[in-house]
C-alpha cells in the first residue's frame, strides 16, 4: 500500500445512508431511503424501493425498478419501459418538452441523449426548480433524440466518467475501427463477437456499423430489445436471433452482438473461431481492457465524458449542482474549485461506480 493510514479501531456498525445538508425539509426535491422525492407533487424520481407514483428517467435497470404503483415516462421510452417493467405496470407517457402539472408542481421531460426515450426530469414549484438529469450524453447517437440543455436552479448530474482521462473520440473513428475489425475477422474466417449492454448500446452499434460487411446475429436479450426499438420507430439493420440458427457455419464471418454476461459462458462455443470485443467507455484504460480479457476494447459509452459533463453542467447554469453516481467526489471537488457550488449526493444508482457500469442488467 502506497499511503500510510492511521490505524483506527473498527467495529461492525451499520453504514448510515447519508442525507444532504442542503436538501432540508423545505427543499422541493429531497433524498429519502426510497429515492429522490418530490413531496409537493407526491412522486419519486427513479425510486429504488416501491412507491405509489414514480417518474422514471429511462428504462435501464438501476433507474426503472418493477413494483411501483404507477410510472410516468417520456413518450419515446414507452416500449422499452414496457419490456422492462412488464405487462401489468401502469405506465403513463408524456412527450418531450410538454409540461404537466401534478399537485401544483410543473413537471416536464427533456431529451437526455443517453438511450432511446431517456429524459431529464425538470420540476418547478413556486419559483424553485430542479433538473434530475438521470444518465446523459452529448455525443450524437442515431438511436435517440439528442441531449437538450435544461435550465434549473438545482441540477442533479451523474459522474460515471467524471475524470479528465475520459474523452470520447469521434463516432466515425470508433466505428471505423469496429468495421475494420469485423472485416478483418471475416477475411480470416472468424466470427466477430461484440459485447455491449443490451439496452441502448447494442442498438447504437447495430445502427452505426456497416451492415454490408456480413450477416448480423444477436443474443436473445439484445434481440428482445431490438424489437422494442423497432416498435418505437428506430430502424435497425436485419438481425437474426442466435438461437434460431441451425447451421453453425452461418456464424463464420458474421457479427454477433451479445450482453457482457455472455462472455464467460459456453454460449460462445457455437460460433467457432472468433475474435471478441467489448464496447464501453471503460475501455479507455488499458488495465480495464486487460481485465476484460477480450481481443479488442472499443471506447464507446452512452454516458457523458469529462468535457461533456462540464458542458452540460455549465449550460444548466444552476445555483447548485448535486453529483451522483460515479466519480462524484472528484467532480464535486472540481466544480467547487471552479466556483460552482456542488455537493455529492449518495444515491443507489448502481453500477456506475464500478467498472461493470456499462453492463447493466440483462435479466429483463
Amino acid at each position: 500500500m502506497k499511503t500510510a493510514v492511521s490505524q483506527k479501531s473498527l467495529s461492525a456498525g451499520e453504514w448510515p445512508l447519508r442525507y444532504n445538508e442542503n436538501m432540508d425539509r423545505k427543499s422541493l426535491v429531497k433524498l429519502t431511503s426510497k429515492g429522490l422525492y418530490c413531496a409537493q407533487g407526491g412522486f419519486y424520481i427513479d425510486p429504488w424501493k416501491p412507491v405509489t407514483r414514480a417518474v422514471v428517467t429511462h428504462a435501464h435497470a438501476d433507474h426503472a425498478y418493477r413494483g411501483n404503483g404507477s410510472y410516468l415516462v417520456a413518450k419515446k421510452s414507452e416500449h422499452l419501459c414496457r419490456v422492462r417493467l412488464g405487462d401489468e405496470a401502469k405506465i403513463e407517457t408524456v412527450p418531450y418538452g410538454k409540461t404537466l402539472t401534478i399537485d401544483g408542481v410543473k413537471v416536464s421531460m427533456h431529451p437526455a441523449g443517453h438511450v432511446l426515450g431517456s429524459a431529464q426530469v425538470r420540476v418547478e414549484y413556486k419559483g424553485e426548480s430542479w433538473c434530475v438529469s438521470g444518465d446523459y450524453k452529448l455525443t450524437p447517437d442515431p438511436t435517440c433524440t439528442p441531449f437538450e440543455p435544461v435550465k434549473a436552479q438545482n441540477f442533479i448530474t451523474e459522474a460515471t466518467f467524471g475524470l479528465p482521462i475520459y474523452k470520447w473520440r469521434s463516432m466515425d473513428a470508433v466505428f471505423g475501427e469496429v468495421n475494420d475489425w469485423w472485416r478483418q475477422n471475416r477475411e480470416r474466417g472468424k466470427a466477430s463477437v461484440i459485447f455491449a449492454y443490451s439496452l441502448g448500446k447494442s442498438q447504437r452499434i447495430l445502427k452505426s456499423i456497416d451492415p454490408s460487411i456480413g450477416p448480423i446475429f444477436t443474443h436473445g436479450a439484445v434481440e428482445r430489445l431490438n424489437e422494442a426499438f423497432r416498435a418505437s420507430g428506430v430502424e435497425l439493420p436485419a438481425t437474426t436471433y442466435v438461437g434460431s440458427v441451425e447451421d453453425k457455419k452461418l456464424f463464420t464471418g458474421s457479427l454477433i452482438v451479445a450482453p457482457p454476461s455472455a462472455q464467460a459462458s459456453t454460449w460462445l462455443r457455437r460460433f467457432g473461431p472468433q475474435s471478441t470485443a467489448f464496447a464501453s467507455g471503460w475501455m479507455t484504460v488499458r488495465g480495464a481492457r486487460r481485465q476484460r480479457a477480450v481481443d479488442r476494447g472499443f471506447v464507446l459509452s452512452d454516458h457523458a465524458d469529462w468535457p461533456e459533463l462540464m458542458t452540460a453542467i455549465n449550460s444548466a447554469n444552476a445555483e447548485r449542482v448535486y453529483v451522483t453516481h460515479g466519480f462524484s467526489d472528484e467532480v464535486t471537488r472540481y466544480l467547487n474549485e471552479q466556483g460552482i457550488a456542488a455537493e455529492k449526493l449518495t444515491t443507489k444508482f448502481v453500477g456506475d461506480d464500478a467498472p461493470e457500469a456499462d453492463d447493466g442488467n440483462i435479466a429483463i
Binding site: 493510514v5 490505524q7 453504514w15 479528465p164 488495465g287 486487460r290 474549485e337
Partner: protein
Amino acid sequence: MKKFTQLFVELDRTNKTNEKVEALRAYFAEAEAADAAWAFYFLSGRKPRQIVPAAKLRAWAIEQAGIPEWLYQESRDTVGDSAETIALLLPETDTDFGTPLHILVERDLLPLRGSGDEIQHDAVVEAWSRMDRSQRFVYNKLITGAFRVGVSQQLVMRSLSQLTGVPVDVLAHRAMGEWEPTPQFFGGLIAEHDADEETPIARPYPFHLAHPYEDEIAELGDIAEWQAEWKWDGIRAQIIKRGGEVFIWSRGEDLITERFPEIAEAAAGLPDGTVLDGEILPWAEDRVLPFTELQKRIGRKNLTPKILRDVPVILQAYDVIEQAGADIREAAFATRRSHLETILGGLDHQAIRPTKPIADKSWKALSQTREQSRELGVEGFMLKRLDSPYRTGRHRGDWWKWKIAPMTIDAVLTYAQKGSGKRANLFTDYTFGVWRDGELVTFAKAYSGLTDVEIRKVDKFVRANTLETFGPVRMVKPQLVFEIAFENIQRSARHKSGVAVRFPRIIRQRTDKKIEDADSLSAIHEMLDALQGARDG
C-alpha cells in the same frame, strides 16, 4: 517510432500468444537493425538510466492538461500507470510522429539526461504535441522505465528464433548480462554462429527455474533418480570467475558483485572459467538468518563494517554450469554436482559452500525430514532429477520446489486500495486486521490470491461499504473474513501488531466465518513463540 508504436498496439490488443509472436516477427522482419536493437532492448524489459524524472513529466502534463494536481492524482489512481495517465490527459492531436525509434532514443531522448529543466520541458512538450495517444504512451514509457506490454522475454526470443532459425536458448544466452543496443549487437544476437571474438567475460547464463510441486510425492517415481536439498530463501545468484575477474549476477540480471564482498573474495579463489549457481544467504552461527536481515544489506549503497559484521553472507552453491571455460549445461546434474564438489573441495573459504544433499532413501523418510524445515529456516526441499540438464528458464519435470504448507490465520478486511496495471481501478490491494482487545489491528497487507471474479466481488463490496477515505485508501466496514497464508513470522518493532510476516497472500474468503470468528493477535504471537521454541530447542 510509428512502427514500434503499431507493434505495441498490436501486442497490447491481443491476449493470444500466437498473435503476439506473429506481430513481433513481422516487426523484426521489417525493422532496420538500429531500430530492432532498441526495440529488443525495451521489449526485453531493459531501460536506460532515468532520462527525465517522472515527477517532472507529471508536472508538465498537469500544466498542459490544465488540471489541478489532485485531479491528476485521482486519474493516476484510476489508470494505474503514470505514462498512460499522461497520454490520456494531454490535449488531443491528430498528428503523426514519424521519427525512427533509434533516432528518437539516441538523438532526442538520451541527450536530455542531465539537461536543464527548460530544455527538457520544451523537448518533451514539443514531442507530445506531435504524437497521438498511443505514441505518447510509448514515448512516456521509454522515458520513465520498464516497457512491459504483456510480452515476456521468452516470446520475443521465440519470434526472433522463428525469424532467424537461431535456437531460443542461444538467443537467451546471447542476450544475458550487459550489452549496448547497437546494430552490431543485434546482428550478433541473430547471427547463425557466434562471432570470432570471445563472448563478453561477464555474460551470465539464463537461469534454470523450478515449478512448485503439488501432487503426491511418490508420483515422482524412484527416489534414487532424484536429489533432494533444502530450499533456501535468499537471493538467487550466478557467480562467474573468468579471466581473473569475478562477477556476481542476480536473477534479475543485476550485477551485484560489490554488494557481497565476502562472496566475491571467496570466488576469486575459483579456477578461471567457472560459473556457479546458488543462493546468497545471511548466515551466522551455522544457521540462516531471517530474510529481512538480508534486506538490510540489499538496499544499502554503502556497506559499513558494522553491517558486514551484523549480517554476514554466504553462498550455498548448488550447481556448476561452466567448468574450465566449457559450457557444461548439457551434462547430467549428477555429473555437474560432482564437479561442484571437486571445485569447492579445492576452495578454502567458508563463504562459498555446496548445499548438502539429503540422504533419505524413501519419499516417506524425506517427508518426515521435511518437517524440520521451519526450525531450519528453509521453505522445504528442492528436488532435482539426477540425469537432467541445466535448462533455460522455467521447465516442468526436472526441478521441483517441494514446499511445506504455509501458516494460515483468518483475518478481517479493513482497508483497500486500487491496484495498478491489469488491476487498475479495481480495489485489489488489501489490509487485514486481527483482534486485540475488541479492536482490529493491522496484521498484514496482501495483493494476491483471489481470482478475477472474486476480486470483482470484493471490489463491489469495498465501493458499497466505504466508511472513510484517506487519499487512495478506503477504510471499509469490517465484514469480510479471509484466510491469509504466510511463510514465516518474526517480531517487528516497526509493525503495530509487533509481528512481520513473509509472503502474505490470500488463500480464500471465509464466507462461513463472521468477523468475531477471525483470529486474534495473541494467536499469532503463540505461533511465533512455538516457532522460536522449536528453533532454540
